[in-house]
Each structure stands twice: as structure tokens, then as C-alpha cells.
Amino acid sequence: MRVCDLLLVPRQEVLALAERLSAGREVEHLVVPTAGSWLLQMREGVRGDRWYIGEIPAAQAAVRLYDRQLGSCRGAAVIMRADAELAVAAAILDAVARASWPGCDEIAALAARGSAERLRAEGQRAAIRAATRVSFSELGTEQDA
């Protein structure tokens, strides 16, 4: 299961599943769920000056779930989207999946749908690329009519 593929299914479904799996359980935030732009810092090679190559939207969350019967488990998520709520949902699903708590099969199913979506998109892109493929070795042999 690729948990990151969860981000490829509609946002509402991820939130709904996380909502359901955290219902009746206490959610403790280990980091403050934050969304924003992260700066990618580089160090220039000659003088060693620091500079910023750019910024990416990102959100992070880390949670601990408490369940009366099952005890506690931890999960975390960093996503490349400025969406703190989605990051928290992903962290909750990560926690449940890693602890193999009841419901982890639902997470796996959801992630599998995301994986299928990813493979479909990758296939589509490969097809588009294939159509633009140029065989340079043949260019010289082609004769003008």
C-alpha cells in the first residue's frame, strides 16, 4: 500500500474516512497542523551564500490517536499542498494503517484506488510522450518525395 496515493482520490473521501476512523477516539496534535509555502534553500557553491530556489505549497501534521481498548498509535504526514485539514486526515489514516487497527483495510482500499488513478495517469502520460517520440536515426534516411 502506498499511503501517499491517498492524495489522488477526492479530498472529501479522505476527510470522511479520517473523520470516521477518529470518531470516539482522542486526537492529540504532536505538531501544530500548519499549511503554507516552504522555501527550498540552496547554498551557492563558490561563496557559500544561501539563496532560495523557490517555494512549494506544503502542509504537515503529526497526531497520536487514543482508543479505550486499543491503546494509542502515532501517524504523520507532509503533503505538497497548502491544506492543513487534509494533512491531519492523512496523518490519522497513517496512524491507523501503521498500527493495523480496524479500518486499515478501508484505508488500503482507498489507497489502492489512488494507486490505480496514478497508474492510469502515468499510462496516459506515457502514451502522450510516445506520440511525440522522434527517431533521430531515421531522419537522415527519409527521402523527400
Partner: protein
Amino acid sequence: MAADDFGFLDAYAVREIRRALLKALAVPGYQVPYASREMPIARGFGTGGLQLSLSVLLPGDRIKVIDQGADDSVNAVNLRRFIVAACPGVQPVTRTAEATVIQTRHRIPERPLMPGQLMIYQVPYPDPLQIVEPREAERRRMHAEGDYARLWVKLYEDVVRFREVALSNRYPARVHGRYIIDPSPIPRWDLPKLHRSAVPHLFGAGREKKIYAVPPHTAVEPLAFADVPFEVERFRDEQGRRRRCARCQADDTYLDQIPLPGGGSRWQCNDQDACDERLGYPDAR
């Protein structure tokens, strides 16, 4: 894009500006580098000042934005609109006396600032050494060592050639006896207002990615020679009398010269609100 529901800037950007602001106040006049983020306004149109305003504003604040002394110029209106839209609960005002935060380009209000107010400047060129040294790394070294010799030489050459320092605005000043700042393009007239001021002055240069500050009650001394003292604009007419504002008759404000169609010119307060205040806000009634 922004995730915070107040102030447009995201949590990471705003914390970095907070840290830079505190260090800027702790080392008055020193230009603290920071990562200036992309804003929905082009760099060079006040993004530095805007980022500072967005970082410090609170619901309930009253913001005044001026550009060249006017509240109603295109830039000031756009910035004010954006700030008010991004900061629910912040009220736009034009009266200096009512503002809690004043974002400015090119002027400091004539009306003395009151404790509790914050001045925020849009700065195009933060470094006074730029006129004598193009390389930033070298300028940083010069500031670090307090090596301002070349700036002094430039001022001296001005005195030799023009009998005065040929800078009408951005006049360099020494803060707390150490760093020399570019006070942004305010006229000489406004420079003495920074000296032992009642309020903090925060400078943001978005394109150049620098923040610096002058705390309240801090010495700000314009660079000058013992025999060629610093002087503000005099606004004298041909007979040597102080010109008055044609509108409010003030003879103690910074004046704009407005050419008249038939030749000659009219002199008028540059600070629109100060002029209106003196006239008892005639348009408000």
C-alpha cells in the same frame, strides 16, 4: 497559496518576518536578511512594507496608507484595499490621529506620532552604500566593520562641487551611533522626525529582501560635516520669506510646488491629512 485566514501570509512567512523584526529592533539600523515571499502585488510596488503590515496587524487595528503624503493615490488605494480585504476587522482610515498602523511611501506625517502607533515604510533601496558600492557582499562587510569612509567621500565631493550634499531624499543617517541607514525616499524634511521618535519605525524592502528598524527614543543623526550642517528644505520665496500652503496657510509643513497653467506656481501641503486637519476637515461635514 495562503492558508492563514487572516493576513494573507502563511504561517511560515509570518513567523520569519516576526523573527526578523525583533532582531531588526535589537540591532537598530542593521538590515536583517529575510526570505521575501511572492505577493499578489509586483515587487517594487511596496511588497516589503505590505509584508510587515500583514505581519503585525490585528483585528481592531486602524490602517492608514499614504503615498507621497496622499491617501488617495492609486498605489495607496490598492494597498489599502488589499490589506483590508486580507485582514478582516482592520479598518481603513485616512486621519493620522486615528491610525494605529501607518504604511507609507515617501513621507512621515506632519502630525507628531503618538505612542502606540506603528510606522511601516515601503523601501525600494535599503542600503545607503549602494551609491558607492555595487557588490552586496562588500557592502555587508563595510556595514559590519563600520567602514563608511567611501560614503563620507561621496558626501564631501558633493559639498566641493555643489556646496551642499546633493541628496534631496534618501538622506543617509546614523542610527544609535553605529549603522548608517537609507531612511527610504522620505525628504530631508522628515528625517529629524526619526530622531528620538515616540514610535517604532519598521522598514521593509521586499525586492531586496531586507528588514530594518528604528526603535522609539533612538538617536538618528543625518550625516553632516561640522562646517556644512544638515539642513531641511526651507521653502523660501524670492524675498526670503517662508512660503505658506495656499490651501491651509500653514508655514511649517513640507510643501509641493504645483505649476500653474499660466506660468508661476502654487505651493501646497504635501501631507493631505495634515492640511485637511488644519482646515477642520471641510469635506467631512
